[in-house]
Amino acid sequence: MGMTMTQKILSAAADLDHVKAGQLIETNLNLVLGNDITSPVAIHEMKKITKKNVFHKDKIALVMDHFIPNKDIKSAEHCKCVREFSYKYEITNYFDVGDMGIEHALLPEKGLVVAGDVVIGADSHTCTYGALGAFSTGVGSTDMAAGMATGKAWFKVPFAIRFHLIGQPSIWVSGKDIILHIIGMIGVDGALYKSMEFVGEGVDSLSMDDRFTIANMAIEAGGKNGIFPVDDQAIAYMKKHSQRQFKIYEADPDAIYEKEYTIDLSKLKLTIAFPHLPENTKTIDEISEDIKIDQSVIGSCTNGRMNDLRVAAKILKGRKVKKDVRCIVIPATQAIYLQAMEEGLLKIFIEAGAVVSTPTCGPCLGGYMGILAAGERCISTTNRNFVGRMGHVNSEVYLSSPAVAAASAVAGKISSPEELNA
């Protein structure tokens, strides 16, 4: 019986010739990730482990991103705990203010994840690295602690759903619209425990940034991971960013998939997830009423990359954010921030009346700036629109692509870029 791409990576990491869905295995890890919220808990757990050292000081990444520069005393204490741990164990990949970035944008950019890797992270969006052909998934703090100490983790080998992408997306339709469309179609538990494997000629037309966006939101469908085949674009990305050897795994022709979907990208439209679940999707032409917004957020581990900012800038160039809308742009990493500056994008944003923040998760989890008041509404390129996610329990978050978020900031209501010219 053949194996899927995910199953092949896992079987190699477990030193087994063959694995099948449902099997429990223990694998070696290439990287263990934590952030400023989850790492302190894991560090606390690690103190209970008799073996007192980390398994490999180069294979742990600790990224301060949610609340930095520290927003209050508590977050300062958290970061201090992680900083001291990093110094004590000489953790190579510790990222603090100065070389910061949102973890899931930062790790691929720094070349810390490559194809064939097995990665766990104490953050649910760790699934992002599937874009590079790696197996990566979110775990809790105990897993992270055990991973840091032993370099191993247990997994149940997942069943798989295969998505055949065909056709080419039309102008303005992006990776975000594709993944929102899929979540709308299969629901927030549509891929529970399963791997989402994206294949087909449609993948060729997707930039790496689009693929990161799609893999990032696999968890929003309940998925264990989302994964893409490794093509020339992925190889070029890894060669540019990493010195590490990568390993390409391909699904066997007779691999078993629980379900298969074919998605014609040329038929997709701009898609928005309405409150309060990512599955509540509508295409832009299905929205008949005016949905007035108070805030527009362009950033996060889903959509804070270079292409996202370029699209937003294209729309905001020479236009103005509507007077009663706050538009917040957050480049996901320092390198993206710098590149955006060099390309003149930051100037475009500021002249349009948006604010540009240093890299952070910021408003995405309602923890730090850009918090919504009761009754306020935000269009956001982030990934979750649960009740109270960005602030008050009576506020609302609509999820969209950068193009829609930028156009809506100008129009003051949820809009497509095409409507702006009308």
Binding site: V41, I49, S124, T150
Partner: protein, 161 residues
Amino acid sequence: MQAKGRVFKYGNNVDTDVIIPARYLNSSDPVELASHCMEDLDQNFVKKVQKGDIIVANKNFGCGSSREHAPIAIKASGVACVIAETFARIFYRNSINIGLPIIECPEAAREIEAEDEVKIDFDSGIIYDCTKGIQYKGQAFPEFMQKIIKAEGLINYINHQ
């Protein structure tokens, strides 16, 4: 390994925010977390729960964030086991890793009612509703997971290895 207790019954998509609201996450003390367990969904839970009781729920129990405080709060409340149609995957992992037994059994999860008395045998995966006299076959824990749960969690398990 066995458990026997009274049932608290809940529906679909019980998320980590209602299991333990974010406003209490500044504590990692299990006893304190337990004192707020389920409070946004069921004010009576904390008052009524007794050691050995069982939570039964429908689909996607524990969805949402990766916070480990959720299974910790349930375990510290004295709950011996959670039975559901399905669990969200990070919650599933976290429960095993902190030593909270959980079983997927769609039939049992749908049919068992609040206040029923239920007996569970973890080695065989047999769930017995003593009140109704009906037996269900849930998934038995593989040996590896039984070892983690018996060691009271992954950390102790590693220490014993």
